[in-house]
Symmetry: C2
C-alpha cells in the first residue's frame, strides 16, 4: 500500500470512529451542531498522526483511537470558535457554511464548548486507563493557556507583532502544541518508552512549525476552490504571518528546513517511522 492509500485508510478509520461516536444523552440540537462541524470532512491530520505514532511505537493503531477522536474534537471546537464573528468572522470552512452561519452564534459557541468537554470525556473513557489518564493530561496541557488557547489569544490580539519571534511563538502554541500532542499521545497509547517519546516530541515540534509556515504560504498562494476556505485573509487583516517576515522564498525554505528536521528526528524509530516521515513530506507538497 502506498503512502496516499495508507493515509486514506487511517483517515477513514478516524472518520468512521467519529461518525459512530454518539454524544450520549445530549439534546438533539447540540449533538447535531457538534456533529456538523466534527464530521465536515477535514484532513484528519491530528487523528492520522496519533494512529501513525501509535503504530510507530509498536502497537496496533486502534489503541490510539479514543485519543485520536478526542484530539479531532479539540481541533473541531477550535475551528468553530475561531470562525465566530467576534474572532475571524469566517463564513466558509471546508467549502461549507461555518457553524454560526448555520446554527447562530449562541449555538456555535455552545457546540464548541461541548466538543472541548466531550474531547476529555472521550479520551478519559479509553479502555486502557493508564493511557487515558496520561493522554488527558497531555491534551489539557496542549489545548490550555500554555498551548492552543494561549496562541489564539496572541494571534487575535496581534500580541508581540513587532517581534520577529512572535510568529514562531504563536505557531508553537496555536497549531504546534496540538500537532505535537497528537504524536506524543499516539506514542503513549502504544506504551512507547522515553527515547521514542523524546523523538516524537522533536518530530512533532518541527512538524507543527512546518505546518503553520506552509499554511501562511497557502494563504498567499493558495486556491480558494482547493482549500475550501477564504484565502488572502492574513494580509487583509494584518494577521501575523511568516510571509512578510521572510518573503515567499524564505518562507518556503523555512518550511523545507523544518520538515527535514522533523524527518531527521525520526531516526530512533527506524523503518517504523516511515509513515510519520511521509506525512511530514506530504504536507510540504501542498506548497511545492
Amino acid at each position: 500500500m502506498n503512502f496516499s492509500e495508507e493515509y486514506q485508510r487511517k483517515k477513514q478509520l478516524v472518520d468512521q470512529a467519529l461518525e459512530a461516536y454518539s454524544f450520549p444523552d445530549g439534546p438533539q440540537l447540540l449533538t447535531e451542531a457538534m456533529r456538523y462541524s466534527l464530521l465536515s470532512g477535514g484532513k484528519r491530520l491530528r487523528g492520522v498522526l496519533a494512529l501513525s505514532a501509535c503504530e510507530a511505537g509498536g502497537a496496533v493503531c486502534g489503541k490510539a483511537m479514543p485519543f485520536a477522536c478526542a484530539i479531532e474534537m479539540i481541533h473541531a471546537y477550535s475551528l468553530i470558535h475561531d470562525d465566530l464573528p467576534a474572532m475571524d468572522n469566517d463564513t466558509l470552512r471546508r467549502g461549507k457554511p461555518t457553524s454560526h452561519v448555520v446554527y447562530g452564534e449562541a449555538n456555535a459557541i455552545l457546540a464548541g464548548d461541548g466538543l472541548l468537554t466531550e474531547a476529555f470525556r472521550c479520551c478519559l473513557k479509553a479502555p486502557d486507563q493508564t493511557a487515558a489518564f496520561r493522554t488527558a493530561v497531555l491534551l489539557a496541557d496542549a489545548a490550555g493557556s500554555a498551548g492552543m488557547v494561549g496562541g489564539q489569544i496572541m494571534d487575535v490580539n496581534r500580541l508581540g507583532s513587532d517581534d520577529g519571534n512572535s510568529p514562531m511563538m504563536i505557531d508553537r502554541l496555536k497549531t504546534g502544541a496540538l500537532i505535537k500532542a497528537a504524536v506524543v499521545g499516539g506514542l503513549i497509547c502504544s506504551d512507547a518508552g522515553p527515547e521514542m517519546i523524546s523523538a516524537g516530541l522533536a518530530y512533532g515540534e518541527h512538524l507543527g512549525i512546518a505546518f503553520q509556515v506552509t499554511d501562511d504560504l497557502l494563504d498567499v498562494t493558495g486556491d480558494v476552490n482547493l482549500l475550501g476556505k477564504t484565502t488572502g485573509k492574513d494580509a487583509g487583516e494584518e494577521k501575523i504571518s511568516w510571509v512578510p517576515l521572510l518573503g515567499l522564498d524564505g518562507t518556503r525554505k523555512k518550511a523545507e528546513n523544518e520538515t527535514r528536521q522533523a524527518c531527521d528526528a525520526l531516526a530512533p524509530f527506524g523503518d517504523a517511522g516511515k509513515m510519520l516521515a511521509e506525512i511530514a513530506l506530504s504536507m510540504l507538497d501542498r506548497v511545492s
Copy 2:
C-alpha cells in the same frame, strides 16, 4: 464554629487556592482575563460543597482542593460564555462589568475556553492520581453534552418550553449536574464507599433543583444590589422559569420540598453530614 463561620472558612480556603493557582506559562492577557472572572468573589458554593463532602466522607478537606478549584473554573467559564452578547448579553455580574465588557468578545470567549481546559488540567494534576482520574471523568460528564452544556443549549433555545417537565430537565442539566458533581467529587477525593456516593448523589440531585428553583424565585423577588446581577430578566426574555408554572407560593414550596429531600438523603453520613445539610438550608434562606 457556627455554620456561617465554617462556610466562610472553607470559602476562603478555596479563594486562596484559586488566587495562588497560576496558569502556567500562558500569555499575560489570557491569564489576566481568566483571573478577572475566576477571582471575582462568588459564593464558591461548588468549591465549598466539594470540601464539605470530602470531610463528610471522612478525609481532611484539603484532599479535594484541586478538584474544588477545577469545578470553580468550570463554573467561571460557564458564566463568561453565558454573559456573552450572543447569549444572555449581560453586562453586570457580581456587581462588576462582565468579561466581554472589559476584554472584548473574542478575549472573553477565549478566557472561557481557557478556564474550561485549565479546569481539566488542574483536576488531572492532583497528587492522588486515582482521585484525579475519577473526578476528571465526573467533571467531563457533568459539564458535557449530557450535563451543563446540554442544559444551556436547551435554555438558550427555549427547547421544550411547552412541556411542564422542561424546567426540571433544564435545571437538572444546566445547574444540577455541576452541583451534584461537586458533592460526588468531594466524596471521591475522600475515598468514600458506594453507600456514601449514592447518598451524595441523591443529596446533590435535590440540592441542584432547589438551587435553580430559588434562583428563579430570586429573579422575580430579588434585589439587584444584593444579588449583584440584573434581575427580572427571565420574564423579559421569556426564559423558562418555575415561577410562571407554579406561581410564587408553589415555587417556594417546591424549593422547600427539594431542600428537605436533600437533607433526608444525608442520613448515612450521620453527624458528619451536618455541614452539607446546613448548606442546603442556607440556600433556602435566600428566599424565605
